[in-house]
Symmetry: C2
Subunit: 394 residues, 2 copies
Amino acid sequence: MAVADVAADSLAALDTPCLLLDEARLTANVARMRERLSGLGVAFRPHLKTAKSLAVARRAMTGPHGPAMVSTLREAAYFAEGGVTDLTYGVGIAPQKLDRVGGIRRQFGADLAIILDSVAQAEAVAAWVAANRDPSCAPSCASLPCLIEVDADGHRSGVAPDDAGTLVAIGRILVDGGAELRGVLLHAGDSYGLDDPERIAAAAEAERAAAVAAAGHLRAAGLPCPVVSVGSTPTARFAGDLDGVTEVRAGVFMFGDLFQAGVGSCGADDIALSVLATVIGHQAAKGWIIVDAGWMALSRDRGTARQAVDQGYGIVCDPAGRPYPDLIVRDANQEHGIVALRPGSRAALPELALGARLRILPNHACATAAQHACYHVLDASGRVSATWPRIAGW
Amino acid sequence: MAVADVAADSLAALDTPCLLLDEARLTANVARMRERLSGLGVAFRPHLKTAKSLAVARRAMTGPHGPAMVSTLREAAYFAEGGVTDLTYGVGIAPQKLDRVGGIRRQFGADLAIILDSVAQAEAVAAWVAANRDPSCAPSCASLPCLIEVDADGHRSGVAPDDAGTLVAIGRILVDGGAELRGVLLHAGDSYGLDDPERIAAAAEAERAAAVAAAGHLRAAGLPCPVVSVGSTPTARFAGDLDGVTEVRAGVFMFGDLFQAGVGSCGADDIALSVLATVIGHQAAKGWIIVDAGWMALSRDRGTARQAVDQGYGIVCDPAGRPYPDLIVRDANQEHGIVALRPGSRAALPELALGARLRILPNHACATAAQHACYHVLDASGRVSATWPRIAGW
């Protein structure tokens, strides 16, 4: 059998809808990011919130134990159990979660750090450290490493980078309370709203400058700040200079998606993730092809609706991953996708018979992957070579 | 301890974000729908695509074996294994899925019916029945019950109700091929875009009339059509007359959500589902309260954005489920929700300290529930009385 036929047969054996991962693209995306960041002289802490898979993590991380970033304590426990011990939990800590953090640190010997941006959180951490101090423990186990979250661009959380009073107050409470003040952490989330390299580079420079300023306030007060952590996929892609930064975080870059392609931080050809679907009907008069991938399989993410090119619920490709001209998922119900030409297109609607297989490139890799329990991994010949499980929940 | 304190303690023990289900509201929503449909003289086939839980199904169905509707074959297998044997799979069949359908029918003795809307599908079914005919089998096992999907309103799939030629051609191929022609099935999906009872009642009447017309074409050709199945939560809520219809399907009504409240098919007080979240930060200058429920916990569904009242990512309530005036989730990142007053509100921002618990009413119950692995069930006193698992995938 020809190689292409083996690959098609391999896909034909899968129940649809399901999630495909092109391993060669994943590898290339990781190599490109590593090379960039190593050229800029900073460490790389991949964010595992997109992948939520040990197999993917091992390909993305610079070593088997990390560093890595997680978005939930469920991820922290899962990756720590898999040997990833250098972890930062990247959502501001709630006091109720400190026992779970301590449990993961103890159970797996994990260096799991937390982030916080308020005096109230610092006081909760200090109280927790005091209550959980165990003289028989090694210092690494008795303490709790903390990074102060700093607001790079008004996007979400964080202390203002010029609010020296709050930064120092938080740092002092942590240090005096026996926690470990590890540094500052920023996320230039507003860079997702941009779409040209110059403006993203400017956002990256603003993120860097804010990080260095905040670290400077801590150091000027005699507080430690060994780690200066920044990152988002767009700023990691276009940062020109990372002087004063020690590590960069990024996650969605591993897979890429149509939203990131719209921002310019990857090309549509770099997207490693797709949803395999089957044609289940036609509404010929309307030019609709109905497929069995609805928003449950694709996610409800319509992030490209606010970009220059609205990709609907995704670009439609043939089983080999080649996009059909102007063919997108125009609308989606829970388990139905309506495939049609883009509004205004003069392309010909391809003839896709009942039972034909399609691949759909996602708007947002984090959201689409989250709808699935595993990746069906495609090797360089397009054959399904492995199934990698992924986790969900908190 | 007072009852309210027991309830608060019960919620405090949960890790957030997580999914809460108010059992009294679920029970009331089901009772209301049953009473309506029994008053209209039709059978009720609840759609289990929202709940995906046997415990919920048992409360929604009129009997332990069904009838019930499912949106995936994974649901079909799960519910059949749980004793629900009267099932219809409500997504147009792909030929590749017929073996799984046959397997579920055989393994669990399930009367699992499929739907289709094309001659190509009917031919695939006939070919499958011919290839799988087993003379030693009971007729119920050897055949395959099929409903012809009819298009009520141009929403998605289905044969046009006045296309007698196609309806009869499909029916004839099924009957001649040894499959069981069970009837017609419609879904007035466009009713989701309406927002007043009169127009929804008109959509329900259009759905009924289309169903009766399509059934008439089959019967006039001497074909059987015992089942005439219609339904959507809005049309089930407002249908005035269901003459000629044998069964009604609806699913999201069990839980309700803000989108259905916007349509008018439930009140915000009827919504049984909420996401429990914890306050993890503040951006006081902006009036933002940051919580640990982002779009991963709430879903990316922004269906209310196209309604008269945009609910953001959901209405924010206190732990007892009472909405705070004008407080919504204004924006969401993967694991962060930004809680703030509605644009233009003059209400006071409530003081919600670090660690405080909130409940968020969802835009779309089907999408929000799908992000979680279980329901934490609240009894009438607000205490967590049970944990009900739910399934995902295909």
